[in-house]
């Protein structure tokens, strides 16, 4: 669902129940106010001097419609009146109903002047003979056919209230009927008392329709009719009970809501404002979506435009940051791929050369054997040397792939260095023997352990040893010494008496692809990867790798680093690694 539609629907979904509840509450409030007003007025009328007498003198004719402007002001009436312009003596609902509106005017006039016409003249004070009213008013010409006559309480009305016309609908005027204690009325027009009221009056002074939720709310909502049954203080006679019927003003509101519909205006304005405010936001989100899509389709190469400092702006910034991260990752990946391709190409090249040489040696040997000549030992040794060299390159390739990752993962375990040195010596001893290089090693009597990745460290040591063998000459020596130093450190020294490396070239030995000039002339194959790997592995293990030229020539390479205390190493299962 689109954002704007969702917002509109949400606003409507929230607003409609709110309006319904308000209107319902307004109806209930009006109902209550009308009831209170009816009670207040009826009691006042009965209790004013001569009120009871008037009723008991003529219970059948007493009551009827209340005249306009009559009745004591009640609190509810004041409340209501406060909202109306113009002040009236009796501003309650009943007063309004009686004094205002077409029907009220007519009835009022009818009651007063005994006319059924529609003169617009204001209501005048009625005559004091209360007996006149009912008879006249119950005539057939009653506009709404209602039997109750206009009010004839016998009170002179010298000052009729001005007609009120605020354009609001007015209800019927209220009517009163007198009953005796058995709920019988002398007035033939009096309606039968409803069951709930009859039941309620038995236990209280004032009976209204049940006020409990939800019946009373539903009643207030459904109908404008208000009925109150009151017990008079004397409790006997034909006027023991008085039923007051009235209504709330049908039509629009007025109890708690403003009577006109102006209150809908802010609601509509709010609704419009929400939609208007959403417009630019929705537009910006659309533009942002478009920009992100464009950027994604271009491999995140283009930037996402950022406007504004609000949430949409922040979203754009987050997209931009994510895009930058993706760009960086892609660049890094491309770089790694390029490096790997180049590395593979170089390595392939470097493997192919010794393989070709090896093939050459083998062909030579076969030709010699076919010709029946003696076996060429030199060719055999050279072939073995090439094969050994190829193995070293392939091992280094695997190691390089492992440590060239951005975050190389080391699998560290306690490594028994003595065993490692023995393995390295065993690996190279056959080829050293063929090359007539004396290869020896010495390890301390007690085992010496180092926390390391055994594959990496072994290959690093192997590279240094093989380097010393390869770049030596027949009759040369290579010695590997493993020693425990003080402060829980160890030193693995590989020393040879080969041609060595010039002092200014020592520091560059570990650069990838570097070979000293002398080495290049002697051994034109190889890429100098071995020592580079040794340096990388040493760095990964926090080992010092020191190249030096020992007195008497040759090259001396020291791995120096921490060793594990004997007790710790002994307790580990992999102590013989």
């Amino acid at each position: 669902m689109k954002l704007r539609l969702r917002l509109a629907l949400t606003t409507i979904a929230v607003t409609i129940p709110m309006v319904v509840v308000l209107v319902l509450f307004d109806a209930v409030a009006r109902h209550r106010a009308a009831e209170e007003a009816l009670v207040g007025y009826t009691l006042a009328r009965m209790q004013e001097p001569g009120g009871r007498d008037r009723c008991e003198a003529d219970p059948a004719g007493w009551g009827g419609e209340l005249p306009p402007g009559h009745g004591p002001p009640s609190r509810a009436g004041e409340d209501l009146r406060g909202r109306e312009e113009g002040s009236r003596e009796a501003g309650d609902l009943r007063g309004r109903a009686a004094a205002q509106g077409e029907a009220g005017d007519l009835r009022g006039r009818g009651a007063e002047s005994d006319l059924r016409g529609r003169e617009a003249e204001p209501l005048r004070g009625r005559d004091s003979k209360q007996s006149e009213g009912p008879e006249k008013l119950t005539g057939p010409g009653e506009p709404r056919g209602r039997p109750p006559p206009p009010l004839n309480d016998g009170q002179p009305r010298g000052r009729p209230p001005p007609p009120l016309d605020d354009g609001r609908p007015r209800g019927r005027p209220a009517v009163l009927f007198a009953y005796d204690a058995q709920l019988r009325s002398a007035n033939p027009a009096a309606p039968a008392v409803a069951e709930p009221l009859a039941a309620a009056i038995a236990t209280s002074e004032v009976a209204t329709w049940p006020q409990s939720w939800p019946q009373s709310w539903a009643r207030s909502w459904m109908s404008a009719e208000v009925e109150v049954l009151m017990r008079m203080p004397w409790g006997s006679g034909p006027c023991a009970l008085v039923l007051a019927q009235g209504n709330t003003v049908p039509g629009w509101l007025g109890a708690v809501l403003p009577p006109t519909r102006i209150w809908l205006a802010p609601l509509v304005a709010l609704f419009a404002a929400v939609l208007l405010a959403m417009g630019p936001v929705v537009g910006r989100i659309r533009r942002l979506t478009e920009a992100v899509r464009r950027s994604a389709s271009a491999g995140y190469a283009s930037a996402v435009p950022i406007d504004g400092d609000d949430e949409v702006g922040q979203l754009a910034r987050a997209f931009e940051a994510a895009g930058q991260e993706v760009r960086a990752q892609l660049t890094a990946k491309d770089r790694r791929e390029a490096a790997l391709r180049e590395f593979l190409a170089n390595t392939t090249h470097d493997v192919m050369i010794p393989l070709t040489v090896l093939q050459g040696h083998l062909s030579e040997l076969l030709e010699g054997a076919s010709a029946g000549s003696a076996v060429d030992r030199g060719a055999l040794v050279a072939a073995m040397g090439e094969a050994h060299y190829i193995a070293a390159i392939v091992h280094n390739l695997a190691i390089m792939a492992k440590i060239d990752a951005d975050a190389p993962r080391l699998h560290r375990e306690p490594v028994a260095m003595g065993v490692l040195v023995e393995r390295v010596l065993a690996r190279h001893r056959p080829i050293a023997r063929r090359l007539r290089v004396e290869l020896d090693g010495a390890v301390p009597e007690s085992p010496l352990h180092v926390d390391a990745d055994v594959t990496l460290l072994e290959q690093a040591v192997s590279n240094v040893v093989y380097n010393a063998i390869r770049h030596n000459r027949a009759g040369g020596h290579v010695a590997v010494l493993l020693e425990a130093l003080a402060d829980d450190r160890f030193r693995l020294r590989v020393v040879d008496d080969g041609p060595g490396v010039a002092a200014d070239e020592l520091a560059r030995l570990v650069e990838r692809g570097f070979r000293s000039d002398a080495a290049r002339t002697r051994a034109p194959d190889g890429q100098g990867l071995g020592l580079h790997i040794a340096a990388r592995v040493a760095a990964l293990h926090d080992l010092e790798l020191v190249f030096s030229s020992p007195p008497g020539g040759g090259l001396q390479v020291d791995f120096i680093g921490p060793r594990i205390c004997a007790e710790v190493a002994d307790s580990t299962q992999a102590a013989h690694l």
Binding site: M384, H411, I431, D440, A479
Partner: protein, 223 residues
């Protein structure tokens, strides 16, 4: 009687070569081209198992686990992968050693021999190394039964070397063992003693100078 070695290797050419070289070295190899459970009676006479980790159908480590559950026979693992996990895993499962392919046949034989080398049965006080017999309690040395008179330093020198026959030991370690710590110019003094000792032991050439390291006592008698 030749020691029996079980070779579990699926590659026919490599297996053939391994078997050939083991036989030449005086062992009695049995060759399996696939891993399977080792019966107890089969395991009984075995001196060593050479196990390839990359076998079709079954991983070498599973075979090793199964093997270890039944037997204590030494296991030498062959691995083509430069993967630390494999090696550490094999050693933790009870392998005794590993070798990474490729390897030279003589390297393999040397490793098998090192694994099967048994310490010579000897009385605690008397060491027999090659042609030498060294009685540490009585401080007496015999060469092929002939008693040789040695000075205290010379005897200590020889006894220190004899602690690890066949292994090179450094001058520094020897000097510390023989001459005591912190003696000035001790390593040169050591060479003088070695020279005298050689003369006394002649014609037996049992003390070798190791370049860059120090000395070594030959484990085998000179021919």
């Amino acid at each position: 009687m030749a020691e029996r070695v079980l070779v579990i290797e699926d590659d026919h050419e490599l297996g053939r070569q391994i078997v050939l070289h083991l036989r030449r070295a005086g062992y009695e190899p049995t060759w399996w081209t696939e891993g399977r459970t080792l019966a107890p009676e089969e395991a009984a006479g075995l001196a060593l198992v050479i196990l390839d980790l990359m076998l079709p159908g079954a991983h070498g480590l599973d075979i090793l686990r199964d093997l270890r559950a039944r037997s204590d026979v030494p296991v030498l693992v062959l691995s083509a992968r430069a993967d630390t996990m494999d090696k550490v895993g094999a050693l933790k499962l009870g392998a005794d050693d590993y070798m990474t392919k490729p390897f030279w046949p003589e390297e393999l034989v040397e490793r098998v021999r090192a694994r099967l080398r048994r310490p010579a049965l000897q009385r605690e006080d008397t060491l027999t190394v090659g042609a030498l017999s060294i009685d540490r309690a009585r401080r007496v040395v015999q060469v092929r039964g002939r008693a040789v008179e040695l000075t205290r330093v010379e005897f200590d020198f020889l006894a220190a070397l004899a602690r690890r026959p066949g292994a090179a030991v450094t001058r520094a370690w020897l000097a510390e063992q023989v001459l005591g710590p912190e003696r000035e110019g001790s390593e040169r003094t050591l060479d003088v003693h070695a020279s005298r000792l050689r003369k006394k032991l002649a014609p037996e050439e049992c003390i070798e100078t190791v370049w860059g390291i120090g000395y070594r006592l030959r484990a085998e008698p000179s021919p």
